[in-house]
Every structure is written in structure tokens, then in C-alpha cells.
């Protein structure tokens, strides 16, 4: 029963993703100035939000871990960083593709871009640390401190680059969205949000399962008297 519900949910998510693509590639009108490349935004902008969300979860989990060394908080932090990074790389790769076709350059040292790039770099370092630093308690603590230090950093980068470059004219999406575009954007956002939640739960479960395996192995070794 539970399995069936799960499969039905997955099917629904697939249909929703298909619908989102249909909206992006067929339904929405083409933006007159930027042309078809503007359609990147229907996934690019939600991805940026989901990247932030993943790292916010990592921050919260890290605070929890530093506070009482709860393995659950640590798993939360790790899962958040994993997913945040997937969406982070999406943002970092699709952004320049849009920029090249619109601004004529791959990259601008603009506050939003710079702070996103550094955010991804910081959490990529977190990922490398957790992946290769060794699974000791000290490394978990190190990761937690890194995540806690990393989050407020973004505010500083943003302020610094803003002072340096001056505010970039206009929002990136552009004001006065066409109602069809707006509809497509919010549907894509909702669908990707659901995808995020699904992936997050799966990832969190995997990490918790790995911990459970460790605990079982320990209990076994204990029963056998090592």
C-alpha cells in the first residue's frame, strides 16, 4: 500500500515535470528582446532559490550539530549541502549560457552572480571536506563550523560587490512579466520545489540508513565481543 502510494506520487511528479517542460518549450510566448534563451529562467531562477534552501538547511543542521552533536542534525546538514550543490551547479552553468547569448559575455562581476559563485564554492569545499576529510567526529565538527561561518558570508559578499559595481540595473528577470510567463514561472517553481522535497527526503534517508548500518555493525561487533 505504502509502496503503491509512493509510486503514484512519483508518477505524478513525472507528469508535473513533463507539464513544466511543455510550458517552457511550447506554451510560453518568446520574450521579444532576449529571444528563446530567456526560457532558461523558468528553471534557472527556481534552481537558485532551491540552492539557497539547501544551504539554509545545512546551516540549520550545522547549528544543531554543534549544539548537541545530534546525528540527525548532521544528516540534515549533509543532505542539504548535497542537494543545494546540485541546484547550485545548475545555476552556475546555465547562468553563463544565458549571459553569453544576452550580455555577450559569459560572466559579470555583479553582486548576485558573485555571491552565488562564492556560496557554491564554500559549500563545494564543505562537500569535499565531508567526502574526503575522513568520517571522524572532528571532521563533522569542522564541517559544521564551516557551514555556520559560510552562511553570513554571503551578506558580506553581496554588500561588498554592490559597493564595488553599483547596483545592476533592473532585476534579472525583467519587470512587467507577461501573465502567461508568470504562470509558467510559478508552476515551474512549484514543480521543482516538489522535486527538491522528494530528492531531499531520499537523500536524507540514505544518509540515515548509512548511519543505521554503522550502528548495526557496531552492535554486531559488540555481540560477538569484537
Amino acid at each position: 500500500m505504502k509502496n503503491k502510494l509512493y509510486l503514484a506520487g512519483l508518477a505524478l511528479l513525472s507528469v508535473a515535470l513533463f507539464l513544466a517542460h511543455w510550458l517552457v518549450f511550447v506554451y510560453v510566448p518568446t520574450e521579444p528582446i532576449m529571444g528563446v534563451v530567456q526560457r532558461i529562467f523558468y528553471f534557472h531562477v527556481p534552481a537558485a532559490w532551491l540552492c539557497y534552501l539547501g544551504f539554509i538547511i545545512t546551516f540549520i543542521g550545522s547549528v544543531g550539530y554543534i549544539w548537541n552533536r545530534s546525528p540527525r542534525a548532521d544528516a540534515l546538514a549533509l543532505a542539504g549541502a548535497d542537494i543545494g550543490l546540485v541546484f547550485g551547479w545548475i545555476v552556475m552553468l546555465t547562468g553563463p549560457l544565458w549571459a553569453r547569448a544576452t550580455w555577450g559575455v559569459w560572466w559579470k562581476w555583479e553582486p548576485r552572480l558573485t555571491s552565488m559563485a562564492l556560496l557554491v564554492l564554500i559549500f563545494a569545499a564543505y562537500w569535499v571536506l565531508r567526502r574526503y576529510g575522513g568520517g571522524t567526529e572532528g571532521v563533522r565538527r569542522f564541517g559544521a563550523v564551516l557551514a555556520i561561518f559560510g552562511a553570513p558570508n554571503i551578506a558580506f559578499v553581496h554588500v561588498a560587490v554592490k559597493k564595488w559595481r553599483g547596483d545592476h540595473p533592473g532585476g534579472v528577470v525583467g519587470g512587467g512579466l507577461d501573465p502567461d510567463m508568470r504562470l509558467a514561472f510559478f508552476i515551474c517553481l512549484a514543480v521543482l520545489q516538489v522535486l527538491f522535497i522528494y530528492l531531499f527526503i531520499e537523500r536524507y534517508r540514505v544518509i540515515r540508513d548509512e548511519e543505521a548500518i554503522g550502528a548495526l555493525r557496531r552492535r554486531l561487533s559488540r555481540l560477538k565481543g569484537r
Binding site: I66, T136, R141, V145, F156, V157, A160
Partner: protein, 227 residues
């Protein structure tokens, strides 16, 4: 309070004495600073106007790299015979330990930068007025402070990780990028090569960074050092 201060001074004095006696870290950082200076000078030297533009960038690259070398080394002396365990086990207030380590690292970096900063200027054929030199020094001081308040607690943590010597710069450099931007731009304004309002607003930004991360580190440090 006086007990707190005496522990703080004891640790700082001990670190400086250890460093001045073995001179390992200082020698390595200074030499590294010179090598970096030479490389930056070959790579960047150009006409005087351009040199003036690239100077702050070169200076902050030197600060970051020698600094990363320095903070990584600081705990090597503690780790060599596991003296850090004795330090953690002692009744010394954790905040005093951290602050002494921060100040020790700061002094080390400033000693090296006091040699490297003028050297890069000479290699790039630059002349400064007294006011310009003062602003450069002030920026450098505050940026170095920002670097050590972030780097020192992380260096303590890094001792428990594998590949610590690679991981530490990987982790610290992105975190101190606000200081890098603020320092480079602030000095650019001070030297008249970057357009912008007054150089003091950049100093405020660096100062805010120093305060936020200094306070954050102190708040978290006792949670960092023990299992």
C-alpha cells in the same frame, strides 16, 4: 578578569617565544612572501600607471597565501607533541586560547607583510605619499585581522581532517573574499586608481567583517575544541 588576562598573555608570550626561537614559520612565510613577490612582479610589471592599478591585487594575493601558510603552521607546534590536548585540558578559558592564537597569527602575518608590501611596491616602481602609505597599512591591518579571525578557528578544526594542508586554504579563501574585495577596492580608492566614494567606507566594511567573525568564533570556540 586578571586571571583571564594572565592566561591570555601566557599563551601569546609562549607562542611568540616558540616562534622566535624556532623561527620556522616566520622564515617560511617570509621566504614564501619574497618568492611570491618575485612571481607577481614578473607577471604583472608594466607601465607605472598600470602597476599602480595592480598593486592592491598583488598585495592581497600575497596576504592570502602567506597567511594560509602561517595559520596552517601555527598548530603544527601544538600538534607536534600533542600539547594542544594539555592546553584544552587546562582550566584556561577557551576564549583566551582563541584570542591569544588570533593575535599571535596576526602579529606573524603583519611582520611578513611589513616586509613584503614595500618590496612589491619597489619591484613595481611605485611611489606613495605618506597618507597613501598610511591608508594601505590600515587596510592591510584590518584585512589581516579579518583573515585571522576566520582562519584561526578553522585551522584548529582542520587538525582533525585528512588533507588538512589542502583543505584549509580551500575553505578559508572563499570565506575571506569579502575582505579581499574590500581591501583591494579600498586601497584602489586610496591610491586614486579606483573610482568610488571615500576609502573609509571600505574600512568600515572590513571592520564589520572582523567584528562579526571575531564574535562568532569566540561564541563557538568552546564547542569547537572538545568532542
Amino acid at each position: 578578569m586578571s586571571a583571564w588576562l594572565s592566561v591570555f598573555w601566557a599563551i601569546l608570550a609562549k607562542d611568540l617565544r616558540v616562534e622566535l626561537r624556532s623561527k620556522q614559520t616566520l622564515a617560511m612565510m617570509t621566504l614564501f612572501g619574497f618568492v611570491l613577490t618575485a612571481i607577481l612582479a614578473y607577471g604583472l610589471v608594466s607601465d607605472p600607471a598600470t602597476n599602480r592599478v595592480v598593486y592592491p591585487g598583488a598585495l592581497w594575493i600575497a596576504l592570502l597565501f602567506t597567511g594560509a601558510l602561517g595559520i596552517g603552521r601555527t598548530f603544527a607546534q601544538e600538534a607536534a607533541f600533542d600539547a594542544f590536548s594539555a592546553l584544552v585540558l587546562s582550566p584556561a578559558p577557551r576564549e583566551a586560547i582563541l584570542l591569544a592564537k588570533i593575535l599571535g597569527n596576526l602579529l606573524l602575518i603583519l611582520m611578513v607583510m611589513a616586509l613584503v608590501a614595500p618590496l612589491i611596491a619597489v619591484m613595481l616602481h611605485l611611489n606613495f605619499t605618506g597618507e597613501e602609505a598610511g591608508l594601505v597599512a590600515l587596510h592591510l591591518l584590518l584585512s589581516a585581522l579579518g583573515f585571522v579571525v576566520v582562519g584561526t578557528p578553522l585551522a584548529v578544526m582542520a587538525t582533525s581532517a585528512r588533507f588538512a594542508e589542502v583543505l584549509l586554504p580551500l575553505v578559508v579563501f572563499p570565506l575571506v573574499s569579502p575582505v579581499l574585495i574590500s581591501g583591494v577596492k579600498g586601497v584602489g580608492v586610496a591610491l586614486g586608481t579606483t573610482t568610488g566614494d571615500d576609502p573609509w567606507s571600505w574600512i568600515q566594511l572590513t571592520l564589520a567583517f572582523d567584528v562579526v567573525y571575531g564574535a562568532g568564533g569566540l561564541l563557538l570556540f568552546s564547542k569547537m575544541v572538545s568532542e
